[in-house]
């Protein structure tokens, strides 16, 4: 270390206050990134400190390994978590994610990190009760680290370049793991063409989760309720398509297995039922935006035409997480403007787990 600039401060408290004052914090106290802590962090990854992992809009500045490590220290990550943060930065900054738009839109989408793979449990990621909430260091600090990178390296500040009308609390930390062990389906990452033995991070920019009730209900009833929530007129998706995320609670997953629902079955059911009549959709966004993002087969002259929430069933992402099965959850996306799911392999040092990362 280090290509990064350094400053001298009196002590820990002075560092925290300086970071608040100068706008390098997300509004919560940070862990002061001393050279020693950052060096320790950098020793955990295969990348060199000066390697450029991505460029982060709107500044389009280079996010080097070292800058990401500095922000990960600030967020409270352990060194073992840095490879996950780096994968998340890579995923978020992929061109198809349109991070420039995600960072600056008036919409409330925030990059959600979804962790899959064999080491999610050894790292301690929560995939059950309160999965979107507080209480677990990996979820909290990895999520926070990505947001700090987007803020500090991207130069993105609310009301200046970040024009989100509301945003949501996931802007502090928004990271879940899939409950692969209790899912009736292959892991979400495997459905996205990775091997089950690989650790994978998927980033999908979305609104905060909305719980959808379904206590002891048959699967078709649960899905009907989910479809109703997915197709709310005020969400971007029914207006301009894009992608959505549906999270089936761990407690509800056995019912899906017992009734023989595949993930593709769920996607098709939701896609067929999560629709709104065109007359309900009209008048809330520019007509040309609706027209641009809607499927070409949609008859825009028919006010009764059923408008889907995505252009295809595959754009409805389905995974298992959370606790007892009183609720499932929906996270609406930004729509066809961007923020769609992008997955990246987590790259470990060869000796990270006492074995080669295959």
């Amino acid at each position: 270390v280090t290509a990064a600039d350094s400053i001298d401060v009196d002590d820990y408290h002075a560092a925290v206050e300086h970071f608040f004052a100068i706008g390098w914090s997300d509004g919560l106290p940070i862990v002061p990134p001393t050279p020693e802590l950052v060096e320790h962090m950098l020793a955990a990854v295969p990348e060199a400190p000066t390697d450029v992992i991505a460029t982060i809009p709107p500044s389009n500045a280079a996010a080097t390994t070292e800058l990401i490590a500095i922000n990960a220290v600030m967020a409270g990550c352990t060194p073992q978590m840095l490879p996950v943060v780096i994968a998340a930065v890579r995923a978020a900054s992929a061109p198809e994610h349109n991070l420039a738009g995600v960072q600056t839109t008036t919409h409330s989408c925030v990059p959600l990190i979804i962790v899959n793979g064999p080491h999610r449990q050894s790292l301690g990621f929560n995939s059950r009760e309160g999965v979107f909430g507080a209480g677990h260091r990996p979820n909290g600090t990895v999520g926070r680290a990505l947001n700090l990178v987007l803020r500090n390296v991207g130069g993105n500040h609310p009301g200046v370049t970040d024009q989100a009308t509301f945003s949501h609390p996931g802007k502090w930390a928004f990271c879940i793991a899939e409950n692969e062990a209790e899912s009736p389906w292959e892991p979400f990452s495997v459905a996205r063409d990775f091997a089950a033995s690989e650790d994978v991070v998927t980033v999908f920019s979305c609104e905060a989760p909305v719980g959808v009730i379904g206590i002891n209900a048959p699967v078709s009833r649960q899905l009907t309720a989910l479809a109703d929530t997915l197709s709310r007129v005020g969400a971007n998706n029914v207006q301009v398509m894009g992608e959505v995320l549906v999270v089936i609670a761990s407690g509800n997953a056995p019912a899906f297995a017992a009734e023989g629902w595949s993930r593709a079955d769920v996607q098709r059911f939701l896609w067929r039922h999560a629709t709104r009549a065109q007359r309900d959709v009209a008048g809330l966004v520019y007509p040309q935006e609706h027209e641009k993002h809607s499927p070409v087969w949609l008859d825009r002259t028919d006010p009764d035409e059923a408008v889907p929430v995505t252009a295809a069933p595959e754009d409805i992402h389905v995974l298992v997480a959370g606790g007892i099965g009183y609720f499932n959850a929906v996270c609406a996306g930004w729509g066809g403007f961007g923020g769609g799911a992008v997955s990246q392999l987590v790259r470990w040092r060869d000796d990270a787990w006492g074995e080669r990362s295959e």
Partner: protein
């Protein structure tokens, strides 16, 4: 106590905000407005006028958010302005 800076060197100049805005004199600012700027831009312009002495604004309002800006307009903005704000907002 030494701590590392979490922002890239290019952004450290932002700490005083001095580099923001049009350089040169007279500071004429170009704006390409996607339609939302009529709401969002006035308070920004107030700040730029107060802090940077922006004297004039060449304002181009797009007919809709997805419309392209023609080359003649871009040439005009380039010729007349020291900086251009391109509003992309959705």
């Amino acid at each position: 106590m030494k701590v590392l800076v979490p922002v890239p060197p290019s952004l450290r100049r932002d700490e005083d905000g001095d580099h923001i805005g049009p350089r040169g004199r007279p500071p004429v600012l170009g704006v390409v407005d996607d339609g939302f700027g009529t709401v969002l831009f006035p308070p920004v312009l107030d700040v730029l006028r107060e802090r940077l002495g922006v004297t004039d604004v060449v304002y181009h309002l797009k007919p809709n958010i997805t419309a392209a800006v023609d080359e003649a307009t871009l040439d005009d903005l380039e010729r007349r302005c020291r900086a251009v704000i391109v509003g992309v907002c959705a």
